[in-house]
Amino acid sequence: MAMLTRLLKNALLFCRLQPLGALGLLIIVVMASCAVLAEQVTFYNPEAVDFGAMLTGPSAEHPFGTDSFGRDIFTRIVYGARTALTIGFLSSMIGCHIGAAIGIASAYHGGWVDLVLQRFIDIILSFPIVVLALVVVAVMGKTMVLGIDLNLVFAIAIPIIPRSCRVIRAATLSIRTQPYVDAARAGGYSTVYILLRYIAPNVIAPFLVLLTAYIAQAILLEASLSFLGLGVTEPKPAWGLMLAGDSANFYNEAPWMILFPGLAISLSVFAFNLFGDSLRDWFDPKYRN
């Protein structure tokens, strides 16, 4: 109970100090609810073709209009949120965790292990994100589990790993060299204890910031890959895919086909960036006073 009130107090404080971050959080919550409750939010089937309603503009029946198969665009955006958030969240989780694990190990161990790992990370960092994801996705093909292409998730996670690793390593390093950590080591405390007692609490803040920021990156990357025809494929609803192929042929007749999915991508990335940004300021003592 005490913890709940503390959380609530903190949340209120966050809203007061970081109104933009609170706005981002609100958008995220709304989108996540849409994704979870898609069946309740809209009663169309996102894959149902309706030739009677091909390329109709926004109306009461179809608030965002329909596409060239007569599918309801609002419905596809709502279900698309499910795709985007699932892939975004999973990729960011996987990428940031692996990156953090390598970063902590590298910093904590130091010496040649650190040197070799950092050289390797350097190399991976020199591939542009899209290029790396594109090659990985082309290499791995598709492995569908519960309607999600796991290989796509990995392809997006891989470029995140070195970036997360860098930040977490730096954070760990700054703690590791503190006298009290040295003292704990000299005192014979186990590595696990030191990691949990000293390192983890100090790494958690940058980690959370990273996680949020890279969900945004992952959503963008998924949209780009799907746009290029190398990510999510028809008839599954995904925002980048909705902009791909056919929709570019409907600039004149059906501009809503390119307008709304793009707005959905932008809004979600915007929300995660806003929230992540505020989270960083929130955690940063320099910005806090």
Partner: protein, 316 residues
């Protein structure tokens, strides 16, 4: 300084070798290859024998270490091999397209710096004011809007309101600057927005940081005017991290063009790369990926050297 530079250049060699190795291994795991696509597209009828012969001709049947050796030897002698799809030298394929991409990247960088420096400075100076919030929203939006979508919106607006679409065939800027710019300014804007957002954010936060430093307080205490404080003392130091981000983003920009070039029908390195990936043209893919990595590493080096020049403390 020269020793520092030479040192840094020497350090590049193992990195480049690692890049080459990872690129090579990554691509060779691809199931299937260029041959099927080449011989069977549009319903061509071929036998397995013909496919095997073509694989032999392209050297795809050789063991991987040998293929890697051939590529490395080629890199050293500047012979990058031939595209497996067209049979033309890779250097020729890339050479014909890289100019356009670099031009777009440079124009995007100009757009970015012109927008970002004033925006970031103003936001920092009026921190937590409505202006700051506005700038923050604009810049965070810049990170959120996918550049390919922004490109589509630009085309949509041009078509709908001006009944005009950018030229789709490339003319060199030396041949016809007007036509060249009327084609390339739009993709530059589309990718430049994101770039500007990144740089503006960096400038804002580094100016805020610098303004809290002791020497700024000292300057203020000494009665130096606020204008002078900002432009003489704060800006100079705040621009250092901005240079880093301008450099890093520039290298990534060329990679980011991969998606945007599709929208504008630009015959640049990005489109060549996507085509190569779709066709499994190994030789072309590995060379482009390697080239992009080299550009990244070199820009990194240049940034470090500039840093070294401006701030001798980093030359350790």
């Amino acid at each position: 300084m020269i020793r520092y530079a030479l040192n840094r250049i020497a350090l590049m060699i193992p990195t480049l070798l690692g890049i080459a190795l990872i690129t090579f291994v990554m691509i060779r795991i691809v199931p299937g290859d260029v041959v099927e696509l080449k011989m069977r597209s549009d319903g061509g009828r071929v036998t397995q024998q013909q496919i095997n012969d073509e694989r032999t001709r392209l050297g795809l049947d050789k063991p991987l270490p040998e293929q890697f050796y051939v590529w490395m030897k080629g890199l050293v002698t500047l012979d990058f091999g031939n595209s497996m799809w067209t049979g033309r030298p890779v250097a020729q394929e890339i050479g014909g397209r890289i100019g356009l991409s670099i031009q777009v990247a440079i124009m995007a960088a100009l757009v970015a710096v012109l927008i970002a420096v004033p925006l970031g400075t103003i936001a920092a100076l009026f921190r937590d004011s409505p202006i700051d919030y506005l700038v923050r929203i604009i810049t965070i939006a810049g990170l959120a809007v996918p550049s390919f979508w922004l490109g589509m919106i630009i085309i949509l607006v041009l078509l709908t309101f001006f009944k005009w679409s950018p030229p789709v065939t490339y003319v060199s800027i030396f041949e016809d600057p007007v036509k060249n710019l009327s084609q390339l300014i739009w993709p530059s804007l589309a990718v430049g927005y994101r770039y500007a957002a990144v740089v503006a954010r960096m400038i804002r936060s580094s100016i805020i940081e610098v303004m809290q430093e002791d020497y700024i307080r000292t300057a203020r205490a000494k009665g130096v005017g606020e204008f002078m404080v900002v432009f003489k003392h704060a800006m100079r130091n705040a621009l250092l991290p901005a240079i880093t981000i301008i450099g890093l983003e520039f290298a990534f920009l060329i990679g980011g063009l991969v998606v945007t070039e599709q929208v504008f029908n630009l015959n640049g390195i990005g489109r060549l790369f996507v085509d190569a990936v779709i066709r499994n043209d190994f030789i072309l893919i590995q060379t482009i990926v390697f080239l992009l990595a080299i550009i990244f590493v070199s820009v990194n080096l240049i940034v470090d050297l500039i840093y070294g020049l401006l701030d001798p403390r980093t030359r350790m």
